[in-house]
């Protein structure tokens, strides 16, 4: 049977070749017209009959019937059921990505029955960790990352909400058709709420070059990323290949590419300096929120004005008595000082240009001045002004701050003093400058305790002069506080106190907002979409309408006519509706194949993102069709299908090799046994933390920063500024919550084949390399975790070496060690003590390191 399939594949490829060679030069006929109907994946989805079996004792459910039928045809026999201990471990990892506890295994083995297994599956599917494991699979597909890549690799603010949306969707068993609709068109759905807006963060996950050499090309590169990913993920089609010409393998003409792109053409791409975050409050609440903010802001400005007026009155009188005062209040060397104020908690300077500011204004005095803040903690400033350099020569800039600052002159960073720190660590830099007026910019943030900003400069012919407004003698409010009674009337003082009180109230007034990185369009009308000759955005060809791929029927849909005031065209909803129609040939097939793949290690179609002519043929087409049809008929819910797969006999087979079967089907094309698999990078790290008990199973929230090895930081162009800090308890959160920075990835994860985030990752690599061994034996992380495991077993069984070793093995393999294994472990301890002079504690720690390196720990049976 496999041979037949293989030949069929070859036939399809040859067919494509012939078609290509006949069209390559003329491009008059599309390959789609002739070959599309024949390809299996483009056929309408029909529900095959479940095969009748001569011996039905093996099968648990219809899945098994399909599998068993094929095995019989091939003269293969299914492997026996695996033992209960292996089964529970397999099921735990498949559903949650976490190991069971040794106690759970023991209990399961003792009570093992059909009903007990079903209860286990129900329990696992109800666990919130199900969403974390399966959400991770989805994040691979949509190339989830939290930065934009390229030179600045700047943050994608709030994007973690999309990650949590995905996790929650799996946990809620959200029907897949809704899941698709929300991600592609959540904002265009009726009654779209915060959840639906967050879902459209899907469009914000990709790479973004904020400084493209050719902005037009950059725009279409960004759209291409969306087109390619969407086609890969939801349709299993490589439409992206038809950007420059008709697809060379698939029946996808170039028109199809641009017709598909037309659905997305009106999306606002990332823009430098523009805050892409979008409020996710319902619109009435959002309007009220905005009104309140502007009302409050106006009140603050009015009060400030009144207070400043009083201060001026004070100053005039004060100066009469203090003629020298203000001499060092020389006019600022800067003009056009403008500030933006941000309200958020930072550990390092963010890319403020990507964030939404709370407030902004001008500072006529021309100094950097953080006194205009509206709070004393958790805020940031961007000051921008023009600095006049009087003559060419050498200038020195001085900067001291609590907390982080960055000073830029004429676009170049000249001092970076980032991170959370106190004052009295002045940074300076000396530069050769030419005369002229240059843009100067200061970014500043303040987290908690302490604050301060001192900026100054010196140059030819002048000593150090302040650029910031922070010296105590210039602190006018303070002067007024101290000497107000001498120079202001009682009435004025009362007024001042009144204004101050009201100002404080206004400043304390908080208007809660919720933001997400979500899609936005330019408005109700989409720009025309043209086919781009050879993919060149400067060479537009004919105009094409939004249309579905010809190979799948290819009709031009009726587009809604949105209200002129509408914020979107409604086109994405049209696409999402088509994708989730019960008769869409690919959506359900592609998804069911993925569900199969993540449970069984490989898809029924191995090329999970490529169901086209050039992809791999399904090993069990009828089974895939049946699953897809049943899935759609059952309302697109996943947990029901998951349960069916997990309860199948096929899932319960042992991984043992069987010589006769192996000789016939070495690649296990027919699923005659269960394939062993290595843990993924995330599963491995989570399992290490689970073994020593340090894992923090808190769900959701902003991403965290476990410590990054300094060797990795050194590869960044800004090593001192490359990675954030999180509280210690967050260091042991599940790996899915680790911040995903495209240019800086943890070696433990990359060594174990973390998904590449530059494009959709349908199947993880699973390599075996010596660097993995080096990491697991020698890295600081592993050695520290091994000690933590040592501490755990010591605490649980003080002074009982035998119990400690037994427990260490059990925590890593979830089973009790056999006698000869325990003997080997004792032998190891003896060696460590005798030959290397270790005490019991170090010897156990060493054994724990060994245990975390076991094949049995890293491979699943």
């Amino acid at each position: 049977m496999f041979r037949t399939l293989h030949l069929r594949e070859l036939f399809q490829i040859v067919l494509a070749l012939v078609l290509f060679s006949s069209t390559a030069f003329t491009q008059e006929t599309s390959p789609a017209e002739s070959s599309a109907p024949s390809h299996w994946a483009f056929q309408p989805l029909t529900r095959p009959l479940v095969p009748q079996m001569s011996d039905s004792s093996w099968a648990q459910n219809p899945i098994d019937a399909f599998i068993f039928n094929k095995l019989q045809e091939q003269g293969l026999s299914p492997a026996p059921d695996t033992n209960p201990a292996t089964l529970i471990r397999r099921a735990h990892y498949a559903v949650t990505g976490l190991p069971p506890s040794p106690e759970a295994v023991q209990a399961f083995v003792a009570e093992y029955s059909e009903e007990r297994y079903e209860a286990l599956i129900d329990e696992l599917l109800a666990s919130p960790h199900y969403g974390e494991q399966w959400g991770r699979h989805w994040l691979d597909l949509v190339r989830y990352a939290e930065t934009n890549g390229y030179e600045r690799d700047s943050m994608k603010p709030h994007i973690w909400r999309y990650r949590d949306y995905v996790i929650n969707s799996f946990n809620q068993d959200k029907p897949y058709n809704d899941f698709v609709q929300e991600q592609l068109a959540g904002d265009e759905l009726e009654n779209a709420g915060p959840e639906q807006l967050i879902a459209t963060g899907y469009y914000r996950l990709g790479l973004w070059d904020d400084e493209p050499a050719d902005p037009m090309q950059g725009k279409f590169d960004d759209l291409d990323d969306i087109v390619s990913t969407t086609a890969n993920v939801f349709l299993g089609l490589s439409i992206g290949c038809a950007r420059c010409h008709d697809h060379k393998i698939e029946p996808i003409p170039q028109d199809d590419y641009y017709s598909f792109l037309a659905f997305f053409h009106n999306i606002q791409g990332f823009t430098r300096g523009k805050d892409m975050a979008r409020s996710i409050l319902p619109s009435d609440q959002e309007k009220e929120r905005k009104d309140q903010i502007s009302k409050n802001r106006k009140a603050i400005n009015d009060l400030n004005e009144k207070l400043q007026g009083l201060e001026q009155v004070f100053l005039v009188r004060y100066r009469e008595d203090h003629s020298t005062f203000g001499q060092d209040l020389a006019p600022s060397d800067m003009t056009e000082m403008h500030y933006r104020f941000y309200r958020d908690s930072f550990d390092v300077l963010p890319d403020f240009d990507m964030l939404r500011h709370e407030n902004e204004g001008d500072l006529p005095h021309g100094f950097f001045d953080i006194s205009v803040r509206t709070r004393n903690t958790h805020y940031g400033f961007v000051f921008e002004a023009m600095l006049t350099v009087p003559e060419a020569g050498e200038y020195t800039f001085y900067l001291d701050s609590d907390d982080g600052t960055r000073l830029r002159l004429d676009g170049d960073e000249i001092i970076l003093h980032d991170g959370v720190h106190g004052l009295n660590n002045e940074q300076k830099t000396t530069l050769q400058l030419v005369a002229g007026t240059f843009p100067i910019r200061l970014d500043y943030f303040q987290k908690t305790s302490g604050l301060g900003l001192k900026v100054a400069w010196s140059g030819p012919g002048f000593e150090r002069r302040p650029l910031s407004f922070d010296m105590p003698e210039l602190d006018i409010p303070k002067l007024v506080q101290e000497h107000g009674a001498e120079y202001l009337s009682e009435k004025e003082l009362k007024q001042r106190a009144f204004y101050q009180k009201r100002l404080q109230d206004r400043k304390n007034f908080q208007v809660p907002g919720e933001f997400a990185l979500a899609v936005e369009e330019f408005g109700a009308e989409a720009p025309p979409t043209h086919l781009l000759t050879r993919g060149n955005p400067h060479a537009p060809g004919k105009e094409v309408p939004p249309a579905f791929p010809t190979a799948l029927g290819g009709h031009v849909p009726d587009l809604p006519v949105p209200d002129i005031k509408s914020t979107t065209t409604g086109r994405r909803k049209v696409l999402a509706d088509w994708l989730t129609r019960p008769d869409n040939q690919l959506t359900a097939r592609v998804l069911m194949n993925r569900i199969w793949q993540y449970n069984f290690g490989r898809g029924i179609v191995r090329s999970a993102n490529d169901f086209g002519v050039g992809g791999m043929a399904p090993t069990h087409p009828e089974l895939l069709n049946w699953l897809a049809a049943d899935f759609v008929e059952g309302g697109w819910t996943l947990k029901r299908m998951q349960k069916m797969l997990l309860l199948s006999r096929t899932f319960r087979m042992a991984s043992d090799r069987h010589d006769a079967n192996y000789a016939k089907d070495p690649d296990n094309n027919f699923f005659w046994h269960f394939d062993m698999r290595r843990l993924t990078a995330e599963e491995l790290r989570d399992s290490i933390l689970a073994a020593n008990g340090s894992i923090n199973l808190k769900l959701g929230g902003e991403s965290v920063y476990p410590p990054m090895p300094k060797e990795i930081l050194a590869t960044s162009s800004q090593p001192e500024n490359a990675w954030g800090k999180s509280p210690v308890e967050d260091h042991t959160r599940r790996t899915i919550y680790t911040h995903v920075k495209r240019s800086l990835l943890a070696p433990l994860l990359t060594d174990f084949d973390l998904a590449d985030t530059d494009s959709s990752c349908p199947v993880r690599f699973s390599t075996v390399q010596p660097t993995q061994a080096l990491n697991l034996m020698n890295s600081e992380f592993l050695n520290k975790q091994a000690v933590a495991l040592g501490n755990r077993v010591r605490e649980e069984s003080p002074d009982d070496m035998d119990a400690q070793l037994t427990r260490a093995i059990a925590l890593c393999s979830q089973r009790q060690p056999r006698a000869n294994e325990l003997e080997q472990a004792h032998q190891f301890i003896e060696d460590m003590k005798r030959d290397f002079g270790h005490n019991d504690q170090t010897a156990i720690d060493r054994f724990c390191l060994l245990a975390l390196n076991l094949n049995e720990f890293i491979f699943l049976d």
């Binding site: 070859l10 030179e151 070495p666 690599f765 034996m777 060696d831 060493r846 491979f859």
Partner: protein, 491 residues
Amino acid sequence: MKHNKPVNSFCGQVDRRDFLRTTGGGFTSLALSGMLGTDGFPGNQAFAADGMSTFKNPLAPKVVHMPAKAKSCIFLFMYGGPSHVDTFDHKPRLYDLDGKTIQVKTHGRGGHKNEGRIVGPKWSFKQYGESGAQVSELFPHLATCVDDMAFIKSMTADSPIHGSAMLMMNSGRILSGAPSMGSWLNYGLGTANENLPGYVVMLDKTGGPISGAKNWSSGFMPASYQATVFRPKGDPIMNLKPYGDMSSKEQYRMIQHLNHFNGRHLADHVGNSDLAARIASYELAFKMQSEAPEAVDVDSEPEHIKRLYGLDQERTEDFGRKCIMARRLVERGVRFIQVYSGGHHNDNNWDAHADLKTNHDYHAGNTDKPIAGLLKDLKQRGLLDETIVIWGGEFGRQPTAEYAEGTGRDHNSKGFTMWMAGGGIKGGVSVGETDELGSEAVVDPFHVRNLHATVLQQMGMDPNNLSYFYNGLDQKLVGVEGAEPIHQIIA
């Protein structure tokens, strides 16, 4: 495996199940590959990435497309973009125009401009060697090697912005996600030394270039093909040595015990090649612990060699050390070594926007003697014949100033100079020309893809035939449309 030859032609599709997508090369042992490649009982991960690449693991040396002239390549990456008109591309007219504002179209960081103030070159040029090549005062030592060098004075790239231009020079595309040249070489050629990585990167002491590891990433290929970062001092590779106070002997004992456990586990899983490979990988890792430090033991070099590379002078010590390391790695079969001059931001690299003189004096002074030492040392050992050396940045610089005053130059990707030496590249030649201002390549322009094609060809691979199937396309380093090597400089 029937063939190891990576094939690409479209018609090759028919065969791709067998070999096109077979991953190869990388960083592990022949012993390992022997175990993995043949009788495998492949686990469920027999297919990966696109779901098509078989995992009959990597790593045996591959059959090359044609006889190779070169075995290794050292890419000396002048990050930030050195100015060609101040180094190797002599433009006499520029001196007279100094300070004059003239009509000239430029595209740099500052966008598209139609006129600019010319900055006269800050150094004088002289002719050197039998070839009479023009070299500026910046490189007195390199000037003595010109008869071994081939200058390409008409290089072009697609972007004048650091981030995308770096990706292009390293991976052939301005977009992130493609494998870098070193990954392609290891994919195409396999390993020549099981105990060392086939692709090594050494970074500047001030930090990596912008985009960091993306510059030496394996993109859509497995991580086995990405570069390993070597450090010039201390442990050369991360996690190479046992942690804390564990001795090597103790670790070996630990591995022996681990093997006992894993061996017992394997006995229950007869024939599982992944498990067997993992056992073998520990032995290999252990061997690397002794081999890698030896490979980079620069201190064991004789004094006259150290002096040749400038290790006796403070400012050349750092780069000189990396150049010696590069030579030692070449001797040990490492395929591709990239050494960065410059890191971090602003004037920590060749990105001279403000004061060209200070910037280029500094970076050239740090690297001139070490690079000349490397060329001479390779030559005296007979290694230059089989080692390609490449010098250049991600682009060059404009003849015009970027700001109203000062000597800084903006970026220029429309015309710049790189040079190659060794590995079957002709010495004492120069191809291509920029216009009289050095603003644009006008005679025989070459693209970064031509440079990449030249390297692949010299190392025995057909650049238009080396492909990796990914996302519906036969991906190539030289792009789907292909590129010719620079025939004029090939001996």
